[in-house]
């Protein structure tokens, strides 16, 4: 039995939020990344972008403040902060593709040591694939952080020398936050910069197939 304590989804979201400095413009992908918005301190101005044409998203509304015309790209009802604006879809993705976002936090299936990301399909024969905006975000944002479980539920490795699933984009990931570690993707490969309580680099090494370096 493992003698370490993985970070919960909420702890992970809070950990990512802590690393986002004031003034950044940020897009949050579907899943744990969406939770990150809940943990940005209220006194820190971070501008949240949503693919469907929103700059300046706020948190989920209280039931009486719910606006049926306002959802984020994950199809959840949201609010606006003061200073927010709307754009059409092409301008919104132009903002992404033109390199105007400081950060995009995405979910992932696999990350390779060269920064390749696979997060949209588990097979080339996928019958009903769902790309959404992931490829545009992965290519366009200034930096990509990936948040995912360190391994799959069945124990398959996700921190890899090379991705085996179809790629979302090549050489785009700068940092990976898992339930067990925070890992930078650098020119010398994966560098572990933080670990969950009780886990060692040796333990982590056994849970991935790419070499891990210490910071």
């Amino acid at each position: 039995m493992a003698n370490w304590k993985p970070w919960t989804r909420e702890e992970l979201a809070a950990r990512v939020a802590r690393d986002i400095p004031e003034g950044w413009s940020v897009n949050l992908g579907i899943g744990i990344p969406t939770l990150v918005g809940n943990y940005v301190p209220a006194d820190r101005e971070v501008i949240l972008h949503s693919e469907n044409g929103i700059v300046g998203m706020g948190p989920a509304p209280s039931p009486e403040k719910l606006n049926p015309w306002l959802v984020n790209a994950s199809r959840q009802h949201v609010t606006l902060v003061t200073g927010a604006s709307y754009m059409n879809h092409a301008d919104s993705f132009g903002m992404v593709r033109g390199g105007h976002l400081d950060l995009c936090v995405l979910g992932g299936f696999q990350v390779a040591e060269n920064g390749d990301l696979a997060n949209w399909s588990r097979s080339e024969d996928d019958r009903a694939p769902a790309i959404g905006g992931a490829m545009d975000l992965a290519v366009g944002a200034k930096r990509i952080w990936v948040v995912m479980e360190h391994t799959t539920k069945t124990g398959e490795k996700r921190i890899l020398r090379r991705c085996t699933y179809p790629l979302t984009a090549t050489a785009c990931v700068k940092r990976v936050y898992t339930d067990l570690a925070v890992i930078d993707v650098t020119e010398r490969g994966f560098v572990v910069i933080d670990t969950a309580p009780g886990i060692t680099i040796g333990d982590l090494q056994a849970l991935g197939d790419a070499p891990l370096h210490s910071a």
Binding site: P68, A90, D136, G140, T170
Partner: protein, 229 residues
């Protein structure tokens, strides 16, 4: 006097031919011209190519159009989304062609269509399955993919307010694909929640100038469904 309003959805959809490419706006059922899609189902055109962000949801709208066998090809960014059952049934039978497109590339292809740009290079999709079979070129050190513009024989739009010239404004996240879809249709048809007098929509306010719009029908259908997650 220019007056693009028609009296009914049936009148708005008149003349759409079999084999048409139809652009359908909307994101997460917001800004989605549902009455016009229903009108297209009634109108009867078949062998359609439909361009929409998803392959439909549940059993209504674009999903129903697909379920009734009227769509030859769907171009979308999400083929699988919660409740995309009709698409998956029809696709499993081999009765529909699927072109999956990154969402930003989809929006930009439609924008390019409206702006007279026949194709463009983008790094989105470079080094992935999306690039397969397409011309690629290394530009500024990045692999870029040549993507073709999309134009519609018909474009279906939902506005919040419209005047008789076809000037449009949208509500909140209901803007999404609507302005680019409106510009990329040879026949652009708008359903609007509200009607404005000419001049009521100020020049600073207008998002889609009426030049892009051909027909408008007043459909005060109310708020989109609230998402229960």
């Amino acid at each position: 006097m220019i007056d693009k309003f028609v009296r009914s959805v049936a009148e708005a959809m008149a003349g759409i031919k079999d084999g048409s490419t139809v652009l359908v706006s909307g994101f997460a059922q917001i800004g989605e011209p549902r009455a016009l899609v229903d009108g297209l189902i009634e109108q009867g055109a078949c062998d359609l190519t439909v361009v929409h962000n998803t392959a439909g949801r549940g059993r209504e709208g674009v999903a129903r159009l697909i379920g009734e066998g009227r769509v030859r090809k769907i171009i979308c960014s999400f083929a699988r989304s919660r409740g995309s059952v009709l698409f998956e049934e029809v696709y499993a039978r081999g009765d529909i062609e699927l072109e999956i497109v990154p969402q930003g590339t989809l929006a930009e292809r439609i924008r390019a269509g409206g702006a007279g740009i026949p194709a463009f290079f983008t790094p989105t999709g470079g080094g992935t399955l999306i690039a397969r079979g397409k011309e690629t070129r290394v530009i500024n050190g990045r692999e870029c993919v040549l993507e073709q513009a999309i134009r519609g024989d018909v474009a279906l739009v939902e506005a919040w307010r419209a005047d008789r010239w076809g000037n449009l404004v949208y509500r909140d996240a209901g803007r999404n694909f609507n302005p680019v879809v409106a510009a990329a249709g040879d026949l652009t048809i708008v359903q609007t929640q509200n009607v404005a007098e000419l001049g009521e929509l100020t020049p600073e306010m207008i998002v889609t100038p009426g030049i892009y719009v051909d027909r408008i029908v007043h459909v005060p259908s109310g708020d989109p469904p609230v998402v229960i997650s």
